[in-house]
Symmetry: C2
Subunit: 229 residues, 2 copies
């Protein structure tokens, strides 16, 4: 959030951000009132307007701020050179560690895209596309060098990001796996996926029975909740 | 939903279910009022109580109903015998086709777990565990027969489900990929993942540079939004 004027400073700003994240993650954006938010922080509702102009701007600032921090951290982490495998390993380790530390942000950046006004949504979707492109570039590079065998690097990009961000929905710090352990196991799976089925098939162990496709009727899709992707 | 008494029948029940799905997907459970729901269906608010006792029961019925249908459809689709690869292929094709046809249900079953009361949440989490176990059994079987090389079949289960359900967040029917195309590409990626890194490493193409782990500080986690997994 950009502090506008006369505020009591960055500590209040951070308290508003944390309280807003928690309220939106618990009740949803539409159900959160600015009165609740102010009460949670222990300030007058009017004081909130030192930090943002309205509730929509607050949500947008939360999501955009997360995306900006994410991009900056990724850019600092990515390998500038090296094999596609090394670069994909680095990307995966980064994405896992960054996101498991921010489950509320991840949840809101997914579930509340529906609540962004069109221009704000477009801006966030563009930032997501950029992030996806950074992974896509690694996969394209690996396919060009022959390290990776992927039928569709765009689908692989989306598959890998869903697989990794999904960790946030179940991971509990202090359980049987540390962040290091998660990174190791998920890097193994991501590399296996990227090395691809064709390569694995060359082993000659997998030409067994292939199941027939299941015919499940596809119903008309309801209203889109957000124009993602 | 179980119809309680004196209702105008299954057509109204289905209309309530569709309207509720759409309202919750758009605004969130906490922000949806039963007045809105009744207005959307074109009935008196009091008539809703022919179908459920309160808003919580409505949400629980929506989510439990989806899970029951999902289990029944999966049980009908799964191969009773065959190689682990064939069974995993069948599972993947089923999961993709079933879920891309129900994006609103998928969204709500994820985002509104937070809104379930403890007993209801426990019941839904148990049904999810059962579903996960059906995939986990296939992976365990494949590891036992040597078809799959997976460091951790529980993590692989969660990774595959996140990867496949994630399709619902971006897939638009009528785009460049049909459901068949999606099934084919994602089956390829799931099999590659299951065949595993160790097997791929045996190719001798991948002993190149390995990136150093990225040290990203992990912050204290905020309140859990739901006890999933």
């Amino acid at each position: 959030m950009a502090r506008i004027a006369g505020s009591s400073g960055p500590r209040t700003e951070e308290a508003i951000r944390r309280a807003g994240l928690s309220l939106i993650a618990t009740h949803g954006y539409a159900a959160m009132s600015l009165r609740q938010l102010a009460a949670e922080v222990g300030i007058q509702q009017g004081s909130l307007y030192n930090y943002f102009r309205n509730k929509q701007e607050f949500l947008f600032d939360l999501i955009r701020g997360h995306m900006l921090d994410l991009h900056a951290a990724l850019d600092a982490a990515l390998l500038a050179e090296g094999s596609a495998e090394a670069r994909l390993t680095r990307f995966t380790e980064f994405h896992v560690a960054y996101h498991v530390a921010r489950p509320q942000e991840v949840f809101i950046c997914y579930s509340e895209l529906r609540s962004l006004e069109p221009d704000n949504l477009a801006a966030v979707v563009a930032m997501r596309r950029d992030y996806e492109r950074k992974l896509g570039d690694i996969l394209d590079h690996g396919r060009a060098t022959g390290e990776f065998r992927l039928a569709d690097t765009r689908m692989a990009t989306l598959a890998i990001l869903a697989m990794l961000s999904g960790i946030c929905t179940w991971y509990k710090p202090g359980g049987r796996l540390s962040t290091d352990g998660l990174q190791q196991i998920f890097t193994g799976m991501v590399l296996a996926l990227a090395h691809g089925e064709t390569q694995a098939l060359a082993h000659g162990e997998m030409q067994g029975e292939v199941a027939e496709p299941v015919a499940v009727p596809v119903r008309r899709r309801g209203p889109l909740r957000a124009g993602v992707g």
